[in-house]
């Protein structure tokens, strides 16, 4: 890893000031994605601004149907939170399925969504659960946050402060785990808000996407049968040495059906 200057400010304002002063800054959250890529020298920041001491970015607030998760809240804390389990169990389950316990003790929701790894789990929750991403500058609706492969609507140096979810009547995250890495080969978040259903898919494409055909079918009839005959075009999906785009396209439908069956 190349060397860098290290800063650990205690509030977001100071973090923001450090970022604007630095040549090539990077925010550091749990470090579970950033430190491995620094070891590989894929990134070599001049300055690391560690958000670890900013207590205002940590914690969970549940009010009625609204679930707010601070950016620096680690996956283990989301998974274990009694209020999240009660109001939005699909989110707790998703967090509990990320990586392994040591990764869950450090990795954060803010880091996960800012990183926008195509195989990450949280993006499907942000989009599927109609969340708003809050930053030190503005509020970004989920549908505008993820822009593409490892790309979000965040401006350089903009700090995610938290994510506000709207708890649906029911929801389920179904993940086809990569057998080695644990990441999502395909992950599908199904969420039912009254007669309105959202379906968000991660892992399959370069970035999370919704499936309008499935949403329409499930809004009319919330059953796995309603998904019969729906296919996902594989032209824009990812292919790697493990799974072809065709395989992923099929897995989206299989996972969606399993998810609906689990909560229908």
């Amino acid at each position: 890893m190349k060397n860098f200057n290290y800063h650990r400010p205690s509030d977001a304002g100071a973090a923001s000031a450090l970022v604007s002063k630095s040549e090539e800054p990077r925010l550091l959250a749990g470090g579970m994605s950033l430190l491995p890529s620094m070891k590989l020298r894929l990134v070599a920041p001049s300055d690391i601004v560690d958000l670890g001491d900013i207590s205002a970015l940590k914690g969970i607030k549940v009010e009625g149907k609204e679930v707010y998760v601070g950016a620096m809240t680690c996956h283990a804390d989301v998974a274990a939170n009694a209020d999240v389990k009660r109001v939005l169990p699909a989110l707790a389950e998703l967090a509990d399925g990320i990586g392994d316990p040591a990764v869950r003790h450090r990795g954060t929701i803010g880091g996960s969504i800012a990183n926008a790894d195509p195989a990450a789990c949280y993006p499907s929750a942000v989009v599927g659960l109609d969340a708003t991403v809050e930053t030190n500058k503005r509020k970004i609706p989920a549908d505008q946050f993820f822009v593409g492969l490892f790309t979000t609507a965040l401006e350089p140096g903009e700090i995610v402060t938290g994510v506000r979810f709207k708890a649906p009547d029911k929801a389920k995250y179904m993940k086809l785990r990569h057998p080695a890495s644990g990441f999502a080969v395909v992950g599908v978040m199904i969420a039912k808000y009254g007669s309105n259903v959202r379906v968000a898919v991660t892992g399959a494409g370069p970035s999370v996407f919704r499936v309008p055909a499935m949403e329409k079918a499930l809004s009319a009839n919330f059953s796995a049968k309603a998904l019969d005959g729906i296919t996902i075009p594989d032209a824009d999906l990812m292919t790697d040495i493990h799974f072809s785009a065709e395989y992923r396209a099929n897995a989206v439908v299989v996972m969606a059906k399993r998810g609906v069956t689990a909560i229908a």
């Binding site: 200057n5 290290y6 650990r8 470090g31 491995p36 283990a76 392994d100 316990p101 040591a102 450090r106």
Partner: protein
């Protein structure tokens, strides 16, 4: 630029001067000479480097030493009692043959303690899933899982008594 860092390791206050890029595991092994914590992969996969930071299992190959400044760290060397009596998790690994070459063992034991702290009544399937981030190339895991299942309720009973 070097940073002066201070932390509590196995109950003792320690300090050191490190580059920002120094990993926590390097600080533990090379500065503190506590070589029980191992590096198997250096890529956050294998769990050989697991230590506890503020009581929670973390992979010390994927944390900067400067990030741990001001925190409390426990390594495998900090588990046994001062008179050498093994921690119940260490004793269970011995009893159940939870190791062969021993390379993964420090991380396995530290993760075992973490699992037992969080879920004293975990069943076998749960323990296996919780060990997802710890890789052993020798044992086939059977003895490791048995050791954790054996030690977890004993640790809970000892805590209840204390």
């Amino acid at each position: 630029m070097r940073h002066e860092i201070k932390m509590t390791v196995n109950g003792k206050a320690v300090s050191g001067s490190v580059e920002p890029r120094t990993l926590l595991v390097q600080f533990i092994r090379e500065h503190l000479k506590l070589t029980g914590t191992h590096v198997g992969c250096d890529t956050t996969q294998c769990g050989c480097c697991v230590v506890h930071v503020d009581g929670k299992a973390m992979k010390s190959c994927t944390m900067l030493a400067v990030q741990a400044s001001g925190r409390t760290v426990t390594t495998i060397e900090g588990l046994a009692a001062a008179d050498g009596t093994l921690h119940p998790m260490q004793a269970a690994f011995q009893e159940h043959h939870g190791l062969q070459c021993g390379f993964c063992t420090p991380g396995m034991v530290m993760m075992g303690v973490d699992i037992a702290n969080r879920m004293p009544n975990a069943d076998e399937a749960t323990v296996r899933r919780q060990l997802e981030g710890n890789i052993c190339r020798c044992t086939g895991y059977q003895g490791i899982v048995e050791a954790i299942l054996d030690a977890a309720p004993k640790m809970a009973a000892a805590k209840a008594k204390a």
